[in-house]
């Protein structure tokens, strides 16, 4: 609501709305940051790579699927140098 529509004497409403908007924006930003952080962890720990493997082969997670993923992914992982 624009400030021009607010009647004189009711200044508290736009301030409250502004605060509410800011709180919503902050909580959205916070939730987004947490999601991003978890995505980074999932990428670092190869959970995303496993999810992509399942999607690529259209299969669901099971010990055999994970064994196949490890066969494919493990060879690449073992060739990856670890930095000092």
């Amino acid at each position: 609501m624009s400030s021009s529509t607010v009647k004189p004497g009711s200044n508290a409403r736009p301030t409250a709305e502004r605060w509410s908007r800011r709180t919503r924006a902050s909580s959205t930003w916070f939730a987004g940051s947490i999601r991003l952080f978890l995505s980074a962890l999932r990428e670092i720990f190869d959970e995303s790579a496993y999810a992509r493997f399942l999607a690529r082969h259209s299969i669901s997670s099971c010990p055999d699927a994970y064994a196949a993923f490890l066969r494919e992914h493990g060879a690449a992982k073992a060739r990856r140098p670890k930095c000092c």
Binding site: E43, I44, A49, G74, A76, K77, A78, R80, C83, C84
Partner: protein, 682 residues
């Protein structure tokens, strides 16, 4: 934010950074607070990122937001995957952050906190971050090619060969030096040995859990593994205090070396899923958590640095390693300032995940800044200790003597007072029998970290737990590098041998697996054994050799980068990579010269061999030490010759291009417009 406010903010950051650097550099006679280092680092990195990296990306590299990256063009859902820039940042940082930025600054602190701090800041902003950034971008523009492939294509055959040999050399020497650090941290420490030994069954359990119970739930099992490791630390205290059990886990340095060599061989030959992958996950989990915790501890506690800015050892007479600030401080601190190893990561998995070209700036330049900050935290962790304690822990018995009384008399004589009773009390507080002669950097870092943690979390009562947590953290780090490095080295040897006889190149053929694993383990195992047996403390010779190797690889990376910049027709901007390259060449050449020919037996390998030959009665042990010295001298000589070769071949390319004798032609993938730009507009 309006332009004038932005200018004011950056002016404020510049003034604050200058003030902090001035305080660090000019304060004499009074101790300073560690927060000055943190403020100087944050300001230097902020300015470097905002202005220098922007200049490099706009003028030198001309990052193109419209150009599709290989992650988009070659997307296969496996190696090439367009990924959120923050996710790639985390992935890249987790790959480049190892034990190097923790150990190097601790060893170099023998010169005082000032030389190391200035090198970490300047080296990272103008050298390391630039190297990681440009190599990442050049790899992105070449379909994610590796450094060795780019060296072969852009410089020539010699460049490619040197890069290959440098990678093998650095891996072998890194593994030897890393294993020696673990040995020095764990010798005569039943608590540490028990905790680290327990990480092997924990990793096996994690491997079984991941494969059979909850497939793919890596985060969950890593958390479970972390809890079990914490229980192992707690259990280690019981082990160390139980007279019947403690002797089983109290091992001498040679015994530990043998155990680690056997472990390295097993880790290289066993299936990846069983040991290597779960340990890697566990190590990464502990690493990220501990770095965050250490940063928090430093900010909360804001400790005072007891180490002076410069010590008397700037003259080259240092007890931890001999040699003057130039070149040895710049060889000792590699990973926190500039590390050639990072160029392997920047041209490995990371370029295959980059979604848009401009994101290489944040990932390449930004992640190295974070790594450099870890090195600053390591400097703080060891400089909060009283200098006498720092030198008592880090000085080898060959320099300060075997007995506590002799050691404290020598160290106090240097002007750094320390008492045998004080050292005994500290050893008791951290649950060790002794802290004298615990060389390698890891124990000193662990004591400093335990000091910071126990002052902010839990008090003195939990100092022993924090100390062993820090030891476990570093040993786990290094052992992860050890098992992964042995396996990578094995693959590289198999690739090379496959050209001679095809079956040797088959990575699933067990005779080849066993033979090449044995070859690599024997290579780093001999360096380790030499370090364990060397009376002057093998880290003396191994760490500078490792530094020379690492800087050699950085030299190769910067030669590749400079050559590409010249071929792009931007020779006027080549100083961006040429200046750090020339600095590294000066450092590597001077360090190699000293390590081979210096007349001081504590520095020069050949002088040490001559001293042994003339002063001692001949024995098989002495003959072996002399042979080791000559071998080290030969390794250093070969490395410096390789630097010269690659530099000469690069200079020849630059001169040919600039003089117009050679047509400048870069081997970039053809331009394809990105679809992400259109998606953003929608």
């Amino acid at each position: 934010m309006t332009k004038s406010i932005r200018i004011l903010v950056w002016l404020g950051v510049s003034i604050l950074g200058a003030l902090a650097l001035g305080t660090i550099a000019l304060h004499r006679g009074e101790q300073i607070n560690a927060m000055w280092l943190v403020v100087a680092a944050v300001c230097a990195y902020s300015l470097g990122y905002r202005f220098y990296s922007k200049f490099v990306s706009a003028k030198v590299l001309a990052l193109d937001a419209q150009r599709a990256t290989p992650a988009e063009r070659l997307e296969d859902g496996r190696d090439f995957v367009p990924t959120n820039k923050w996710v790639v940042f985390g992935h890249h940082f987790a790959a480049i952050a190892g034990p190097g930025p923790l150990v190097g600054p601790v060893l170099a602190a023998q010169f005082g906190y000032l030389p190391g701090t200035l090198w970490i800041l300047a080296g990272a902003v103008f050298g390391g971050c630039v190297q990681d950034f440009v190599i990442l971008l050049f790899s992105v523009r070449r379909d994610g090619r590796s450094l060795t492939e780019m060296a072969r294509e852009e410089i020539g055959v010699v460049g490619g060969f040197v890069a290959y040999v440098a990678v093998i050399s650095i891996i072998v020497i890194l593994l030897g030096a890393g294993a020696l650090i673990v040995v020095n941290a764990l010798k005569s420490s039943p608590w540490g040995v028990f905790t680290i030994a327990m990480t092997i069954p924990i990793a096996l359990l994690m491997g079984f859990y991941l494969r059979h119970l909850r497939p793919g739930k890596v985060l969950e099992v890593s958390f479970l593994g972390f809890v079990l490791v914490m229980l192992a630390i707690w259990g280690g205290q019981w082990v160390s205090q139980t007279p019947t059990v403690a002797p089983w886990f109290t091992l001498t340095a040679p015994a530990l070396a043998i155990v680690i060599i056997i472990y390295g061989f097993a880790a290289s030959a066993l299936p990846v899923w069983l040991l290597l992958a779960p340990r890697d996950y566990l190590s990464t989990f502990v690493k990220l958590g501990t770095i965050g915790l250490l940063a928090l501890g430093i900010i909360v506690l804001r400790p005072t640095l007891h180490m002076p800015p410069l010590t008397r050892f700037v003259d080259g007479s240092g007890p931890i390693f001999a040699g003057k600030i130039f070149p040895f401080a710049f060889i000792t601190i590699a990973c926190g300032a500039i590390s050639g190893f990072h160029s392997l990561i920047s041209s490995g998995t990371t370029p295959k995940l980059i979604r848009r070209e401009p994101e290489t700036r944040m990932v390449g330049y930004g992640a190295m800044m974070a790594e450099s900050m870890v090195a600053i935290m390591a400097t703080i962790a060891c400089c909060v200790l009283q200098p006498g304690i720092y030198f008592a822990i880090n000085s080898p018995a060959g320099v300060v003597g075997q007995l506590p009384e002799t050691a404290v008399a020598t160290i106090s004589g240097w002007g750094f007072p320390v008492t045998a009773a004080g050292m005994h009390a500290l050893a008791q507080a951290v649950g060790e029998q002794t802290l004298f002669n615990r060389t390698g950097g890891a124990p000193a870092f662990a004591v400093g970290m335990a000091h910071i943690f126990s002052s902010s979390l839990g008090g003195q009562a939990v100092m022993a737990i924090w100390y062993h947590f820090a030891i476990m953290f570093e040993a786990l780090f290094i052992l992860t590098v050890l098992d992964a490095g042995t396996r990578v080295g094995r693959f590289m040897v198999q690739d090379a041998l496959g050209h001679i006889w095809k079956p040797l190149g088959r990575t699933s053929w067990y005779p080849s697996i066993l033979a090449t694993s044995a070859l690599i383990v024997a290579a780093w195992g001999s360096f380790l054994w030499q370090g364990v047996k060397d009376p002057l403390g093998g880290i003396n010779s191994l760490w500078p050799l490792f530094g020379i190797c690492n800087q050699l690889l950085a030299t190769v990376a910067l030669c590749v980068a400079t050559t590409i910049i010249v071929k792009m027709g931007k020779a006027r901007y080549s100083p961006v990579t040429l200046v750090p390259l020339l600095w590294l060449v000066a450092v590597t050449f001077t360090a190699s010269w000293h390590k081979i020919f210096d007349p001081n037996p504590r520095i020069g390998f050949l002088a040490h061999a001559r001293q042994l030959a003339s002063s001692a009665t001949p024995s098989p042990e002495i003959s072996r030490l002399i042979l080791n010295d000559r071998l080290d001298a030969a390794v250093a000589g070969v490395l410096v010759c390789m630097v010269a070769l690659i530099l000469l071949e690069s200079i020849s390319v630059w001169v040919s291009v600039v003089s117009g004798r050679m047509q400048a032609r870069v081997r970039e993938a053809p331009f394809v417009p990105t679809r992400f730009a259109a998606e953003e507009r929608v």
